[in-house]
């Protein structure tokens, strides 16, 4: 190819990227309410909370938002919290949500539910997902392309203003009951479940990011026979120790917490229902209050 052609190709790509970049503010949701079309809307309810009003922020996958109820914690222990959890949350999403949340909040602690640390679709797909995510971050017009359906004149020129407040503070109340019928799942072991390099990379970023801001990082594992085991416990324990973080594995405290697997799960030991969540909230609330003087 001649030099002239290379310049032409580069110009075409650069102009295209420029146009795409300029379209970003138009396509970006202008509010975090349900009509606005923002992604991970319930987790992003935190963007509408008053500045510096949240004491503890939770992140993680569905285990996080079905196990801790901020309203109960506030009523019982007097501190405010928000669960920025989302279904199948990946660590790069946790990192992004935390970055957004910490722009206006200065919590004492960030609590990471550990199940998402082991979520992987294989390194190839993980890399693809991260690349797509980066692209969407860089070009919001791609991420929010589907907002053409709700686009109005006000989308041209208006700046985002997040006003929606999530009453449940990110918590998902699950009412049903399905008994877990398996054996004792936390069998003592010396083995470890490796944290994959990609997950480790984002976990380090989250921990470093929080610690740089003077925010304590707490890892906690929600009782879940379907997802948790001693090998995972060992890995997180070592990691938390190495990074100077706290780790509370509630899977080892099911007797103390009085978790009843006949009543406290809504899907046979995968997630907790509201009865189970109340027990976790009480335990975690008490521990957090004591530890951080909330």
């Amino acid at each position: 190819m001649r030099k002239e052609h290379m310049i032409k190709a580069a110009a075409f790509v650069l102009i295209g990227l420029g146009l795409l970049f300029l379209a970003g503010p138009v396509m970006t949701p202008k509010n975090n309410d349900p009509a606005g079309g923002i992604h991970l809307q319930e987790a992003r309810g935190i963007l509408g909370e008053p500045e510096n009003s949240i004491d503890v922020i939770f992140v993680g996958d569905s285990e996080s938002y079905t196990s801790f109820c901020p309203k109960i914690a506030e009523k019982k222990y007097g501190f405010t919290s928000y669960v920025c959890g989302s279904a199948g949350q990946r660590l790069f999403e946790s990192y992004e949500l935390l970055q957004e949340a910490l722009e206006r909040q200065a919590p004492k602690a960030v609590v990471i539910e550990t199940n998402c640390i082991f979520r992987t679709h294989g390194w190839i797909k993980d890399c693809q997902e991260i690349a797509d995510h980066k692209l969407e971050q860089l070009f919001p017009a791609v991420d929010y392309h589907d907002r053409w359906k709700v686009l109005t004149a006000s989308d041209f020129g208006a700046k985002p203003l997040y006003t929606w407040i999530n009453d449940q503070k990110g918590y998902h109340k699950k009412k049903g009951t399905q008994t877990y019928v398996g054996d004792q799942y936390m069998k003592k072991s010396r083995g470890r479940k490796n944290i994959r390099p990609i997950q480790q990379f984002y976990l380090n970023k989250i921990v470093d990011f929080c610690q740089e801001k003077g925010i304590a990082v707490v890892f906690y594992s929600v009782p879940s026979p379907k997802n948790w085991n001693y090998e995972k416990h060992n890995s997180i324990e070592s990691y938390a120790e190495a990074k100077g973080c706290i780790f509370w594995d509630l899977n080892l405290k099911t007797d103390k917490l009085k978790i009843n697997w006949k009543k406290d799960s809504y899907d046979g030991g995968d997630h907790l229902n509201h009865t189970g969540a109340k027990k976790i909230t009480s335990y975690m609330g008490k521990k957090l209050k004591k530890k951080f003087g909330l």
Partner: protein
């Protein structure tokens, strides 16, 4: 990774093109081969070994065949004329055995990976019927990506050497490239050795014209795949997976939706594939030629998945038609049924073989076999009825060449295609019959007007986008049918206008594509076959 994903068109493909271009010309084929295997590895991981085995097998059986054929030519040249015919037949037997060895190993691999589960399931059903308690375990292994496609390419390579249509290639690298070219590995087109191998190996540089024309074609493919096919998939999946709760009108809408989805998906993917090849300067064979303008079912298959139809024609229809059995049947048929209908029994045998194989090739399920045999019946019925229809038309003074009659033929063929696709997409043969039954016994036209269609995952705006996009595809197809090629026209425009068109097309894909949050990823349909 798949052709419509960002990992392909933003990372893998540009990187492959860049590395290819930066490699010295005589080593470019190695770079291409590396990216072929890398692409395969990304999708099928260690099953890459299957492709390597198939490529090596194809190459060495080809060499063996070539060597034996050359040796036989020498022997025949030294054989006395009167003994030559007999000798030739015995030598041909040996060549046939070598060819059959290569064929059976390839088909064995295909059978093992693709059909073991289906065979075990049916064997268990039979055993159950016979009251035997023993059962086969249903395997759950994955098949290497594109095994159905590269197997056919391997067989065509060996068959062409066996039939003396071409010489064997002594270069393993060239055979490996032919078997694994990454743009074609997932969905074809099914290439012939003489069409692509030498060009792939030549290491011709990427030039400006190829780059721009290939990219244009890829954008058009993304438009069809992401704006139409992936949007319609939402409706199609909802109805076909939950068919029990819908009436015949909704089923008919879903069958139409699936037919259009499949066309947009497969032809869109072919645009991406052929465009990718074009960037490397490889002219891949076309797989679609405005199929919905077909006037008969047999014409449809010369316009839809053209390379598969051509493969079955060359390697199944012709060999069966030319077999001793078919020739005898033809002779007897002509004697007993006369010159008009006498050839039909022999043709029916060849057609049956073609359509049975076509059905089986598409997948391991009885609905696929039914789909193949559906076209066998349609085409055979067309052949049988043709003389009678012709006579009737002449007697009634119907002009079969007039526009109205041609339009009627196209609509009829389109409806028959939709009906066939209903079975093709159905989750099982039984489901296909239930759905077809609903279309005739429980057709509620009110479903089109009372908002039922808007409860299937697509809202009014989605339908509007899909309809406009389909209209655009129809217009482009119509212009192609009339011999007018828009790409050539656009390429002649001045740069600012041309770039505006390209940016506009890219913007349409980005904004109206059914991808990202809120949409389930849609795998390439034919990559599963």
């Amino acid at each position: 990774m798949a052709y419509h994903q960002t990992s392909y068109f933003l990372f893998f493909f540009p990187l492959a093109v860049l590395c290819y271009q930066l490699t010295p010309e005589r080593h470019r084929w190695k770079t291409l081969l590396f990216f072929n295997y890398l692409f395969f590895f990304f999708i099928s991981k260690k099953l890459l070994a299957c492709l390597l085995v198939s490529s090596a097998l194809t190459h060495y059986v080809g060499l063996w065949l070539g060597y034996v054929k050359a040796r036989h030519r020498e022997i025949l040249a030294q054989t006395a004329r009167e003994e030559r015919r007999e000798r030739k037949q015995s030598l041909k037997q040996k060549e046939r055995r070598i060819f059959l060895f290569g064929l059976l190993v390839h088909l064995g691999l295909l059978l093992f990976f693709k059909y073991t589960g289906f065979l075990a399931l049916n064997a268990n059903f039979l055993l159950g019927g016979l009251g035997v308690s023993a059962r086969f375990t249903i395997p759950a292994w994955a098949a290497p990506v594109g095994i159905s496609f590269y197997t056919l390419q391997a067989v065509s390579y060996l068959a062409d050497i066996y039939l003396g249509k071409m010489e064997e290639d002594t270069n393993l690298g060239r055979v490996a490239l032919y078997m694994s070219f990454f743009p074609t590995i997932m969905e074809g087109p099914i290439c012939r050795y003489t069409e692509t191998a030498r060009r792939l190996y030549s290491g011709a540089p990427v030039n400006w014209e190829n780059l721009t024309r290939g990219s244009q074609r890829m954008i058009w493919g993304f438009f069809k795949k992401l704006v139409i096919a992936d949007r319609l998939d939402i409706l199609v999946k909802t109805v076909f997976n939950g068919y029990v709760q819908y009436d015949g009108a909704v089923v008919a809408a879903a069958a139409l939706g699936y037919t259009l989805q499949l066309y947009a998906e497969f032809s869109g993917c072919m645009d991406i594939v052929i465009g990718s090849g074009e960037v490397f300067g490889i002219k891949l064979p076309e797989n679609f030629r405005q199929p919905f303008f077909s006037r008969t079912a047999s014409e449809f298959w010369t316009r839809w998945h053209i390379t598969l139809g051509a493969w079955f024609r060359d390697y199944i229809f012709y060999p069966v038609s030319m077999s001793g059995f078919a020739k005898k049947l033809n002779r007897n048929g002509r004697k007993r049924l006369g010159p008009v209908y006498g050839g039909i029994p022999a043709a029916a045998c060849a057609l049956f073989a073609v359509w049975l194989c076509n059905g089986i090739w598409h997948g391991s399920g009885w609905h696929y076999i039914f789909f193949g045999l559906y076209y066998f019946v349609l085409i055979l019925a067309g052949n049988i009825l043709e003389p009678a229809v012709k006579e009737f038309s002449e007697r009634r003074g119907i002009d079969r060449a007039c526009a109205a009659y041609r339009m009627w033929q196209r609509i009829r063929t389109f409806l028959l295609v939709i009906f066939g696709e209903l079975f093709f997409r159905a989750v099982s043969l039984r489901a296909g019959f239930v759905m077809a039954g609903k279309m005739f016994a429980n057709f509620l036209p009110a479903s089109f007007t009372n908002g039922t269609l808007l409860k299937l995952g697509l809202d009014g705006k989605d339908f509007t986008v899909a309809a406009c996009a389909l209209l655009l595809v129809f217009v482009v197809d119509y212009l192609h049918e009339r011999g007018f090629h828009i790409r050539d026209k656009v390429a002649g425009w001045r740069l600012p206008l041309r770039w505006c068109v390209y940016y506009g097309a890219i913007a349409l894909v980005i904004v109206f594509g059914a991808y990202g949050a809120g949409y389930a990823p849609v795998e390439l349909i034919y990559a599963g076959f």
